[in-house]
């Protein structure tokens, strides 16, 4: 039988936590920085007081809006040939994180450098080659690109370097509308983009109970174009949320549900993930502790609560606070990934990262792909039937008159070996002499060899000359925008903006 789902909450406890979350939304409300967005919530029955930024959602309104949330959706790569379904029953694996530095074995000193666009491209290419990791996101932050044009550069590289979908932060309405416009051009039309979503947005409420303007601005665009959005606060137990995990869960569920229903306010039936990246606080530094065991308890609970609402869940796996490739890096990344998968999280992210997702290593990315293979195998459990019990085969081998007979050459072994045994490519299980002959390499060195091979073999996907020219022109146009335009568009300095379709116009308030 398959592995039973790991659970940390009883049915009654799920109901206690979710009803507390709804009570928080009804009595305290959630802080929505953008005034127009507050008004839109009011039109749907939420209560605003005109003084504070808190929006209170009566329980019946929240429940009605939650009914609009789809329980499954598909994600596609640029040309649509690669696609997969996200639902409440299966588990997909992806990247995500905000690495600003990347491991480079060629460097002499600490082997870590500031990441640049060339690294972003390599990360996209490596993900494209992987068997189990199905989606990359803006993970490796390109520091050599103007920050207000990062999304445009990344989408251009996405189109040229992968067949898989792509994720970007809903970082404002201007950038999000750019993302939609650029992706529509790449895939042929807005209609195609809406029908076959390519982008995963991530929208992070700020704990406690706040939906920042930049994020809600971006969420509005993602919802309008029906691109699935991960609503995932990073509530930290003891700093931005109660130190008690039950309290954190009640608060963070209010934050997640607040973001999810806001997406439905913007555009009904918007695909979303019931997401978490909440974790323990390291009480020595105040740092997030994604690899802590309590963080996995939170992830497991969120998987259960998302199932309760019948909404696909997202949680972190393969995460660690380790700054190097040590035992901590290994046990934290495997335990977080394995526990999230066993809990039934539907979209597990953060492959390839370490140091609280602030650093990236392509070596870890290919290792994670293999770890996903192990985890998937574990989730399949043990298949018990007459043929797998194989009494006839046991009898045949055990009673053979030939000495030293074994099961290796049995057709039963050949029939089942790939199903029953996951055969890893990077994990070393051979004899010491063989390992020595191959250069006594550790798993990081073996992973590096694989990365080098993938990058050497990679053939970029061709764009038509016309599309290439158009995309480069858009990047140039976005790069030329003054920062004031960005600030004005997002209302950072009191500005406002109207955006319709591919035409973007601005008005100063």
């Amino acid at each position: 039988m398959k592995l039973k789902k790991l659970e940390v909450l009883s049915k009654e406890e799920i109901e206690t936590i979710t009803s507390s979350a709804l009570r928080i939304l009804e009595t305290i409300g959630i802080k929505i920085d953008d005034e127009k967005t507050r008004k839109r919530c009011e039109e749907k029955g939420a209560i605003i007081d005109g003084i504070s930024s808190f929006v209170k959602f009566p329980e019946n309104i929240t429940k009605d809006l939650l009914k609009l949330v789809p329980d499954s959706f598909k994600l596609h790569g640029p040309d649509g040939s690669f696609n997969f379904e996200v639902n409440t029953k299966t588990t997909q694996f992806a990247t995500i994180g905000t690495p600003v530095r990347i491991y480079d074995p060629k460097l002499e000193k600490n082997k870590l450098k500031k990441s640049v666009l060339a690294d972003t491209i390599q990360q996209i290419r490596v993900v494209d080659s992987l068997e189990n990791v199905n989606c990359s996101h803006i993970d490796v932050w390109p520091s050599d690109v103007k920050f207000t044009a990062v999304h445009a550069h990344c989408l251009y590289q996405w189109a040229k370097n992968t067949k898989k979908p792509y994720g970007l932060g809903c970082l404002g309405r201007l950038a999000s509308q750019d993302m939609v416009n650029i992706t529509s051009l790449i895939v042929g039309s807005e209609e195609d983009l809406i029908k076959r979503p390519r982008l995963v947005g991530f929208m992070n409420p700020t704990s406690p109970l706040q939906l920042p303007k930049l994020m809600t601005n971006g969420l509005e665009v993602f919802a309008k174009y029906k691109q699935p959005t991960i609503v995932a606060p990073e509530a930290l137990a003891g700093t931005t949320a109660p130190v008690t995990l039950a309290g954190l869960l009640a608060q963070t569920c209010a934050e997640i549900i607040g973001g999810i229903i806001l997406a439905q306010v913007f555009s009904p039936i918007s695909p979303v993930f019931f997401g978490t990246v909440s974790c323990a606080t390291d009480m020595r530094s105040g740092n997030s502790a994604l690899g802590a065991i309590e963080s996995s308890l939170i992830t497991i609970a969120i998987a259960q609560i998302a199932r309760y609402y019948n909404i696909p869940s997202r949680g972190p796996g393969g995460v660690t606070e380790s700054k190097c490739f040590d035992v901590q890096n290994g046990f934290e990344r495997f335990s977080t990934m394995s526990l999230a998968a066993q809990a039934g999280i539907n979209y597990i992210t953060c492959a390839g990262t370490y140091e609280s997702s602030l650093a990236e290593a392509l070596e870890l990315l290919v290792i994670d792909d293999e770890l996903v293979g192990l985890v998937r195998r574990a989730m399949e459990g043990i298949n018990v039937n007459e043929d797998t019990i194989a009494i006839d085969v046991i009898k045949k081998v055990a009673t053979s008159e030939q000495k030293g007979t074994n099961f290796l050459a049995e057709s039963h072994t050949r029939k089942y070996m790939y199903k029953e045994l996951y055969i890893p490519k990077l994990i070393d299980r051979g004899r010491r002499s063989t390992w020595k002959k191959k250069g006594s390499k550790d798993i990081i060195e073996r992973a590096r060899a694989k990365v080098d091979q993938v990058l050497a073999d990679f053939q970029p996907y061709e764009l038509t000359k016309d599309l290439d020219t158009q995309l480069l022109a858009i990047i140039k146009e976005i790069e030329a925008r003054p920062i004031e335009l960005y600030m004005n568009a997002e209302g950072i300095s009191g500005g406002s903006v109207n955006i319709t379709g591919t035409e973007i116009s601005f008005e100063k308030s």
Binding site: T98, V100, R101, K114, W141, F147, G169, L171, T206, Q210, P212, L214, L236, G238, T239, T240, T281, M283, R284, S285, G286, S356, L358, I483, M487, E490, I492, S493
Partner: protein, 216 residues
């Protein structure tokens, strides 16, 4: 129990109201001056800070003690020092805040508490602080240092904007500008023309002391 021991007990237990009452009674009975009480509290907070550095206590204990002390200084000791016509001793004045478009506050608050515990006068402007707000406050209180925090790759660029604005107003050399936050680095600090970068609260103290030529 000595005055110092009593104050220490109240600080580590976060007994804000009792500490206020105790300090008031000491001042009323002329057992000590407000300046000397401030000195005692400074020494205790240094001890608390050391305990944190040695990992004998953890963040909530440090921050809770610092908040207790801040209320007592603001409500009782500062007014008493002003009433006595005395000048408050300080290691330096620091304006800190999280830059525009960023609402993350914990790291910056920790830095603030640590600076405060080490004898600095700290003006914590909160989150989403504009360049103008940083500069106006620094000008108003005669700051020595401006500390800019950022947790987002998108917001760290606003650290540069504050520095650029200082240059535009001809005030760049008047203040030491320090930057920090998860996505930032020493290189980033150099790139945007900051005077220094620190990885955590403890490093910040060393950095600020170095920038202000204060011996350890």
């Amino acid at each position: 129990m000595s005055i110092k021991d009593k104050i220490k007990e109240l600080i580590v237990e976060w007994e804000t109201e009792r500490l206020k009452e105790y300090c008031q009674s000491i001042l009323k009975n002329n057992e000590a001056t407000a300046s000397s009480l401030l000195k005692i509290i400074g020494d205790i907070m240094k001890f608390v800070g050391n305990q944190f550095e040695e990992e004998e206590i953890f963040l909530p204990e440090l921050i809770g003690s610092a908040e207790t002390v801040k209320v007592v200084i603001d409500d009782i000791l500062d007014p008493a020092i002003r009433a006595a016509g005395e000048e408050k001793e300080t290691m330096g004045k620091v304006v800190i805040g999280t830059v525009e478009s960023d609402v993350h506050s914990i790291g910056k608050d920790l830095v603030g508490s640590f600076l405060f515990s080490n004898g600095f006068e700290v003006y914590n402007l909160g989150v989403e602080v504009t360049a103008d707000q940083f500069i106006s406050k620094a000008e108003e209180i005669g700051a020595d240092v401006i500390g800019l925090s950022s947790l987002l790759t998108m917001s760290m660029h606003f650290q540069k904007q504050v520095i650029d604005e200082l240059k535009k107003r001809g005030l760049r050399n008047k203040y030491k500008v320090i930057v920090g936050g998860s996505p930032t680095s020493e290189d980033w600090g150099v790139q945007i023309g900051a005077d220094g970068w620190a990885d955590d609260a403890i490093e910040t103290i060393t950095l600020v002391k170095k920038l202000l030529n204060i011996s350890e």
